[in-house]
Each structure stands twice: as structure tokens, then as C-alpha cells.
């Protein structure tokens, strides 16, 4: 039987990845060390599948079709953006398990949108390539997109429930797989708005504190208008964290790193979610 053995939250801000290695600052080195730490924990957990939960940035999905939550059930590749040292070709997928998650969900009140061919963006492609794919037991990545950047947004409560649905489907999968769930998103940031470049570290710390305490209810209870006002439109991506918390049923976890600074436009939070 498959099980969820752990989870993580992490950022995907492109500014982290555009810089060539020789130009990395001390802060950038700490950020990269945090990705390394997550990769090491995935190795220790002997994970065989990574479900990576990301956010579309109004690129993969356009005005003609905006899914509330979508899973890649077929071929996966990416990220489509070019970053120094990061491959962009095929990502090993798990069509059987991903299709099972979609179908299990549909039979239990979760009408997944599916993609049979999916070129992921940086929000999924970079965590997959940096943290999951290099580990020795990893066989496949299952991409999940939540509507957390483009309105209409998935309600935060529903993001948590989608995580729970992923967990239920994984537990109903008859084969032995050790699954980790990666919630990928920035914390405070203002994407494309006049405040772009500003962060709210107090908000970021508050979010990470909830993650580490396993307090999904407080994150779900945050008002979106208040998040927009105090932490920017990019902070709505905490839905990825909430989904990962729903999937892990995390009783708590540990902070791995937090960074914010002039090198980036968002607060960067890294934490582990212990599996409940």
C-alpha cells in the first residue's frame, strides 16, 4: 500500500534560479542550502514519488480555460522557462498513480481537471528537479496545479480538502510507494503590482509558524483581501502550503530556512511537514 511519508513547503521565485552560480551571494547560498536540505530529507525518507503542488502564473492556462485544480496524468516535461543549469526536458511521471488520484477524487467529490500532456512551469519544474528527481529512490513526479494566482481562486478550505483527497487516493493505491508532497509557493510578494519588490516578513513568519505548528486552520482562516493588502497577490500561493498540509495531515514540522532580501521579490520560506 502506498503512503505519504512527508512533505515540504518551499519557494519557486524565478529570481533564485536566474543567477549563475558564480554570482551567488551569501543569502543565495543559504537559499540553495535549504533546497539541498529538502533533497537530503527526501532521500532519507526513501521517497519514490513526489506530488508537487504549484501555482500557474497565467501562462500555462489562459482565459479560455482556468482549472481550479488540475493533475498531470500523462507525459510531463519542463520547466518551460530557461534557468542556468536546470534541465527542461522530460520529467518522469506516474500516469497510473496520477490517473488513480484523479479518478479516486472524482468518485469522492473532487472533479479534477486533468492534463495528458503538461509542460510545467518553474513552480513545479524547479522543485521537482532540485529536490525530488536527484534522489536515489525517486521514480516519478505527479504535478498538481491549484488556482492560486489567477482569479477565480480556489478557496483555501478547498485547497486543504484537495490535499486530503490526494492522501486518501494515495492510501487506496495498492502498490508500495512512498510519497512526499511538496507545496511550492512564495510567501509575501506583489507580482506585477507597483509594490513589486516589497515583502512582509512578519506575515511570512506568521505563515511559517502556522506550517511548523501544523495549524492549517489559521491559514485557511486568513482573509484573502487582507492577504492581498498586507502581503500581496503572490501570497495567495499559500494555498500550495495548505494543500500539502492537507495531504500530510501534518501535526507539525520544522522550519528549514527563511530568507528575504534585495536579491528576490518574495519572502522565501522552507519547512518540513511531518506526516501525520
Amino acid at each position: 500500500m502506498a503512503s505519504i511519508v512527508g512533505g515540504f513547503v518551499m519557494p519557486h521565485e524565478p529570481g533564485i534560479f536566474f543567477k549563475p552560480k558564480e554570482t551567488w551571494s551569501e543569502a543565495q547560498l543559504r537559499v540553495m542550502a535549504a533546497f539541498d536540505a529538502i533533497r537530503a530529507r527526501i532521500e532519507e525518507l526513501e521517497a519514490t514519488v513526489a506530488v508537487v503542488v504549484g501555482a500557474d502564473h497565467y501562462v500555462l492556462f489562459g482565459p479560455s480555460c482556468l482549472p481550479s485544480y488540475l493533475i498531470g496524468i500523462g507525459d510531463v516535461s519542463g520547466p518551460y522557462e530557461r534557468f542556468p543549469g536546470i534541465e527542461r526536458d522530460d520529467i518522469p511521471s506516474h500516469p497510473a498513480l496520477a490517473s488513480h488520484i484523479a479518478q479516486h477524487g472524482r468518485e469522492h467529490g473532487f472533479d479534477w481537471a486533468v492534463a495528458k500532456n503538461l509542460q510545467v512551469d518553474h513552480s513545479i519544474g524547479v522543485p521537482a528537479r532540485l529536490c525530488a528527481m536527484p534522489t536515489s529512490q525517486m521514480k516519478a513526479v505527479v504535478p498538481v496545479y491549484l488556482a492560486s494566482g489567477v482569479e477565480p481562486l480556489i478557496p483555501k478550505r478547498r485547497a486543504f480538502e484537495v490535499g486530503q483527497a490526494i492522501r486518501a487516493a494515495v492510501q487506496a493505491w495498492p502498490e508500495d510507494e512512498r510519497v512526499v508532497v511538496l507545496g511550492s509557493g512564495g510567501i509575501s510578494h506583489w507580482v506585477g503590482l507597483p509594490e513589486m519588490g516589497k515583502v512582509n516578513s512578519d506575515f511570512d513568519r506568521q505563515v511559517l509558524d502556522c506550517v511548523v505548528r501544523g495549524d492549517a486552520a489559521s491559514l485557511i482562516g486568513m482573509d484573502d483581501e487582507e492577504i492581498l493588502r498586507t502581503a500581496g497577490n503572490g501570497a495567495l500561493e499559500i494555498r500550495s502550503f495548505i494543500c500539502a498540509m492537507g495531504a500530510t495531515q501534518s501535526p507539525g514540522g520544522r522550519l528549514i530556512a527563511y530568507e528575504a532580501g534585495p536579491d528576490w521579490v518574495s519572502g522565501l520560506g522552507f519547512a518540513e511537514l511531518h506526516a501525520g
Binding site: H57, Y58, V59, G62, P63, S64, G149, V150, E151, W190, V191, G192, L193, P194, M196, G197, N233
Partner: protein, 91 residues
């Protein structure tokens, strides 16, 4: 006037190379394919991203439009343009 047409054109100009080429070659001809008012067409031709946002367009699309189509293709000029309009809007 509809934000849906603005977002449709913005999305195409963000992700489709052919659209960007067509826009650069003949903006009026390109924009005629969308249900845009004359004021909305002006927003595109003048890269008036602040007006687009005031009309309800997603900031994710306006920044993508700028970075992929405006000659400077720079975040700094994008923010300067947004803030310039924010300032002038307050006057």
C-alpha cells in the same frame, strides 16, 4: 469594454511568439482580432499597463506583456511606468 478581451490579447502576447511578432509588425491589425474598444487598443499600443490594471486585467498578464513586448523588457521600467501612472492618477 470588457476585461476579458484585454486579458485574451495580453495572454496571447505573453505566450505566443507569432502574436508578438504580429503585434510588433502592425499593432492595429493584430489588435483588430480582439473585441477591444479604441481606448483599450490605445492601452496596448502605448503599453499603458496601469490603465489595463485599472480595467481589471491581471497583474500577472500585464507584467508578462511588458517583459515580452515592450522594447526595454525590464522590470524596472515596468514598475516606473506603473508608478508614474499611480502618481498621476492621484493628482
Amino acid at each position: 469594454m470588457t476585461v476579458f478581451a484585454i486579458e485574451a490579447a495580453l495572454h496571447d502576447l505573453g505566450v505566443k511568439r507569432q502574436a508578438r511578432t504580429a503585434f510588433a509588425e502592425d499593432a492595429d491589425k493584430f489588435l483588430a482580432a480582439y473585441r477591444l474598444s479604441s481606448e483599450e487598443r490605445r492601452m496596448f499600443k502605448e503599453f499603458d499597463v496601469a490603465a489595463m490594471q485599472r480595467a481589471g486585467a491581471s497583474p500577472l498578464l500585464t507584467i508578462g506583456f511588458w517583459l515580452m513586448n515592450e522594447p526595454s523588457r525590464a522590470r524596472a521600467t515596468y514598475l516606473a511606468r506603473l508608478n508614474q501612472h499611480a502618481t498621476s492618477g492621484e493628482q
